[in-house]
Symmetry: C2
Subunit: 300 residues, 2 copies
């Protein structure tokens, strides 16, 4: 960063041969998080969710701007919120470079900036027939945590804590995204749910994605809380995972696995369109109903 | 732009030797604009206000992201809003590169991006003792228009229309900002009011700014609506002008004037701190009370 907060604009320098990656996300109280959230957890989660979009492009984070709208300025609230932001900003390597604070109903818009070598960004449009479909970790924990977040359900600490941590402290897979540059043919981060997000890759790449239901990686906590069927529903349709999904030529798998990256093969790319879910006999099955529980009525 | 809407991030390329300028602004219904604004005018004004920050840095606009929060998605509203954005985007040379749409109380956050040759951005911190203090046009019209915008006051069309145009269609002084690169020693755009914004230059540059009240450029419409005293109050404290204020070594004035730039000398830079308003005898006078009328109670 060349010039930060306090002038009309922030100024960023970009190394020669690199491109800037930019993403904007808004979170609204009562829609994307509870009406009166813990400010530390809100700050931590909001930044993690936003930085995950940089991971999905294979970008190296640079900084972020924050537009914060608040009903009133309470110093203790703001301090805790800033500490939560900082908690996520440090491991992600981002700095606050500018922002705006306004009065109004609680909401926040983060715009994150990263850099990526020219032509090497991971997009959604390059999946090829024959590629493997992989994800970067276990799915469904964020959605499974929602009833706990909302206080609608109780669970023993050994089950609840890992799920709540996945919800309130999503870990952007920045290193994995950067490792996939030049290797993955398409990538994104799962925010809307595996089926919906695979649909985005299928559409952008003009291919079909086949998902083997039995290969969905599910955490022990999620299985203990919900059982297999509901855990699968969270993994398929829950959203809020912030785990990378990507496609990869089969010959590149062994090298990435040998390097220790946590990739899990869950399916493959075929000719056609859309997303199909397969049972253990390879038969197409109807996905379970959407498991995602929203804070608002019908928004996203 | 390398990659636009529809992936996890937008990608921007930046020419070698240039820096990226970034600014974020949030506008909240009932605080920064009426609760039920004309959507065309809202889009036009919101983008103009944001791009004005690029003008203040001497930057060349590239694009913007829009985070729009709406109570409900009405196609006619969205279409008119998009047309208003487009109306401002075209002459400014910016394109929408990404965004987010969420449900909630009406507000919008725009993040604008521009480019500026390395080291040539206009900041607030370089004003030198002996410099002239200049502005890029008439002041106070935006604030003077507010009672008309709110329907609290009527005026003949010949008076009302120019003022309403200044409010709803602020014209970022992009060409002037670029022309001032390498010439102005400090610059910003007047959004909080001349006195407050000159205070920002004075603080960042560690100098005093002296403003001659009689040299404030006031429009015929504003004078006809309010008379001299209230028009001056709008110019000094009203805000919403989106005209550049800048400091300049005296020997650079003639060249810029000869090139036809609309600069008006309104004072000078002296040793000391803060902003002083001078009468025609050069005596320090107390500024008039703040003339700015807000939509909300005490926010900004």
């Amino acid at each position: 960063m060349v010039l930060g907060i306090g002038d009309d604009c922030a100024l960023l320098a970009l190394p020669a041969g690199e491109q800037l990656a930019v993403s904007t996300d808004t979170l609204v109280a009562g829609v994307h998080f509870p009406e009166s959230p813990d400010p530390f957890l809100l700050g931590q989660r909001a930044l993690g969710v936003s930085v995950s979009d940089l991971a999905a492009m294979g970008a190296t984070p640079i900084g972020f701007t924050l537009a914060l709208t608040l009903p009133s300025a309470e110093p203790a609230w703001l301090q805790a919120f800033a500490q939560g932001l900082d908690q996520m900003a440090r491991p992600c390597g981002v700095r606050l470079i500018g922002g705006d604070t306004t009065r109004g109903p609680l909401s926040l818009t983060l715009t994150v900036f990263g850099r990526v070598p020219q032509g090497q960004a991971l997009t959604r449009g390059g999946a090829q027939v024959g590629d493997l479909l992989c994800v970067g970790g276990e799915l469904g924990d964020g959605a499974g945590a929602l009833p706990l977040v909302l206080g609608q359900r109780q669970a023993p600490a050994a089950i609840a804590e890992p799920l709540l941590a996945r919800y309130w402290s999503p870990q952007p897979q920045l290193a994995l995204g950067q490792a996939l540059r030049g290797k993955a043919t398409a990538a994104l981060d799962i925010s809307d749910g595996l089926l919906a997000d695979c649909g985005h890759i299928a559409a952008a790449s003009a291919v079909a994605l086949l998902i083997e239901q039995a290969r969905l990686p599910l955490s022990a906590s999620l299985l203990a809380l919900l059982g297999t069927a509901a855990a699968r529903a969270c993994a398929l349709s829950g959203g809020d995972d912030y785990v990378l999904a990507f496609t990869l030529p089969p010959e590149r798998l062994a090298g990435l696995q040998a390097a220790g990256w946590p990739l899990r093969v869950i399916g493959r790319v075929a000719a056609g369109q859309g997303v199909q879910l397969l049972d253990e006999q390879g038969q197409c099955i109807t996905p379970p109903a959407r498991g995602y529980q929203h804070f608002g009525s019908d928004s996203d």
